[in-house]
């Protein structure tokens, strides 16, 4: 299978690889996927308490090139967005941006799940109600 230029670029030069302090109150962590499935994504956001803006985002991913690219792209998109806007990122936006083939759509779903899990982790830590998200049927 040939990868798109954008996937190759994110794979070769991934953006925002790293770890934020998950104990910190303004850091939200989302860990999704499973080793047995061949994909695990950990996505973290650091939120400015006053403005609700995502100041920083980091990821680490165990998975194929498309999974790495999806999470790398997600961290880029998250930075500078308010958490409310971040919650509206749709997996199909990632599919479109990276030209993912049908067999790799699950990578984008995983990235969307990771974003939502990170947002909810942040909300939970800060005494906010967790957002309810519609289940994606693509898994």
């Amino acid at each position: 299978m040939a990868y798109s230029e954008k996937v190759i670029d994110h794979y070769s030069n991934p953006k925002n690889v790293g770890t934020l302090d998950k104990a910190s109150k303004n850091v939200g962590t989302g860990l999704v996927g499973a080793p047995e499935c061949g994909d695990v994504m950990r996505l973290q956001i650091e939120v400015d308490d006053a403005t609700g803006i995502i100041k920083d985002a980091k990821f680490k991913t165990f998975g194929c090139g498309s999974a790495i690219a999806s999470s790398s792209l997600a961290t880029e998109w998250l930075k500078g967005k308010s958490i409310d806007v971040a919650a509206t990122i749709d997996n199909m936006d990632i599919v479109e941006e990276l030209n993912l083939p049908p067999v790799k759509i699950h990578c984008s779903v995983l990235a969307e799940d990771a974003i939502k899990a990170a947002i909810n982790d942040y909300r939970k830590k800060n005494g906010l109600e967790e957002l309810l998200f519609e289940e994606k049927g693509v898994h």
């Binding site: 990868y3 190759i8 794979y11 991934p14 690889v17 770890t19 860990l31 999704v32 996927g33 499973a34 080793p35 047995e36 499935c37 061949g38 994909d39 695990v40 994504m41 950990r42 680490k60 991913t61 165990f62 998975g63 194929c64 090139g65 999974a67 790495i68 067999v103 699950h106 779903v109 995983l110 799940d113 898994h139």
Partner: protein
């Protein structure tokens, strides 16, 4: 000089040896006759060439030329050998014993036989990929007609105890079929010494052309027969109809001859390269060889690099190195290698595996390059892997509730 790209997927197919091609060429144009044309020189030439090739093929495996049935390849040989015995020996019984690490051509043929009303026992293998001989013997019943166990595995290269299997089958009056696709031409295979009754193998895994293979069918002690699976002109002693692929057969014969003459020196050189590759890659932390390392083909290695996903790993160098992975993502099915799972490997390790298959044409420079590329990529991806981070922090990943998707 380093020649790129490096091809290390020789269990999938090998390049053809130029000497093989050279032998084949006249049989496409000048000597194009049908080997079954008995009444003119074109037919005679073709028949003579086929006879000669049949001897070359037979000699490589210690068989009589009359025991060689040319097929289109190993898959056809698996089908003809197994279904052919099932039909021919229907009066004796309907039970077949095989193993769960067999090639799909054997497993799916067995599934087909189950649909026809046959009974199949799928032996599980031990952690090292070898079958348990006691389990095999215990599985034999009065209705058993065939034991179908491969010579060497295509993913991990593990060589089954063929002689012992043959002895058990013989003791119980059961036929022994072996898919020897990965073994023939690479290690000494002798159907008499090994006690094999039926055996399939193919040209393109041993530097010969694609689309040509053979089924060995024993003629003495016992005389074995298979029911033809294709009806027609009654070629190949009535067991496999269809005009003979003369150029393919000529090339296959030449490939067999070259393997017979050069096997010892090839093996010595290739196994050294394989060992060099393996030793260097095992210097990486958390890298493990899959399958028995002693009873193994000299040109094969299967290694799992824990906490790195196979397809992601391949992507780091697949412009320059051709390899395959047991990772789910490399196949359309999204299921990781069933062979590695059969060894008891967790899905995570199966997802993290690479299969190396070296060849006659692999060079030391290519191996050095491969080691360097893979090591760099593994280290880079581990820096990016949340699992590696957890491992380094001493977190037990079995205690995490993963969201299975």
């Amino acid at each position: 000089m380093l020649k790129l790209p490096v091809y290390l997927d020789n269990n999938a197919t090998t390049p053809m040896d130029p000497r093989v091609l050279e032998t084949m060429i006249p049989y496409f144009t000048e000597h194009f006759g049908n080997a079954a044309s008995r009444n003119h020189p074109f037919g005679w030439e073709a028949e003579e060439a086929v006879d000669y090739a049949r001897e070359q093929v037979a000699k490589l495996i210690g068989a009589d030329p009359k025991e060689i049935i040319f097929t289109s390849g190993a898959t056809e040989g698996d089908n003809l050998g197994i279904k052919g015995v099932y039909e021919m020996y229907a009066q004796k019984g309907n039970h077949i014993i095989t193993a769960n690490t067999e090639h799909k051509a054997v497993l799916d043929t067995c599934k087909h036989i189950e649909k026809l009303g046959g009974e199949v026992t799928y032996l599980s293998v031990q952690e090292d990929g070898l079958i348990d001989l006691k389990e095999l013997e215990a599985a034999i019943k009065p209705t058993t007609i065939l034991v179908a166990i491969m010579y060497a595995n295509n993913e991990i290269g593990v060589i089954q105890p063929v002689k012992e299997i043959a002895a058990i089958a013989k003791k119980h009056g059961v036929l022994f079929f072996s898919d020897a696709t990965q073994a023939v031409g690479k290690i000494p295979v002798d159907v008499i010494q090994d006690g094999i009754d039926l055996m399939t193998f193919t040209g393109h895994k041993m530097y010969g052309p694609k689309g040509i293979g053979a089924l060995y069918v024993r003629r003495k002690n016992p005389r074995v027969k298979v029911t033809a699976q294709m009806d027609g002109g009654g070629h190949e002693r009535g067991m496999r109809s269809g005009t003979l692929n003369v150029p393919g057969i000529v090339g296959f014969g030449k490939a067999c001859e070259l393997c017979r003459l050069e096997m010892a020196q090839d093996t010595e050189r290739i196994s050294k390269l394989r060992d060099k590759l393996e030793t260097a890659l095992l210097k990486l932390d958390e890298a493990y060889v899959n399958g028995n390392r002693e009873h193994r083909l000299p040109h094969v290695s299967n290694i799992s690099f824990k906490y790195v996903e196979g397809e992601g790993l391949l992507m780091g160098f697949n412009k320059n190195i051709a390899l395959s992975s047991g990772s789910a993502c490399t196949s359309a099915s999204l299921e990781p290698s069933y062979v590695l799972k059969a060894l008891g490997l967790g899905d995570d390790l199966a997802h993290s595996s690479l299969r190396f298959g070296l060849s006659r044409f692999t060079t030391e420079e290519q191996i050095d390059f491969t080691v360097e590329q893979i090591s760099t990529t593994v280290l880079k991806l581990r820096e990016m892997s949340p699992l590696w981070e957890m491992f380094k922090e001493g977190i037990d990943m079995n205690n995490i509730e993963w969201a299975h998707h």
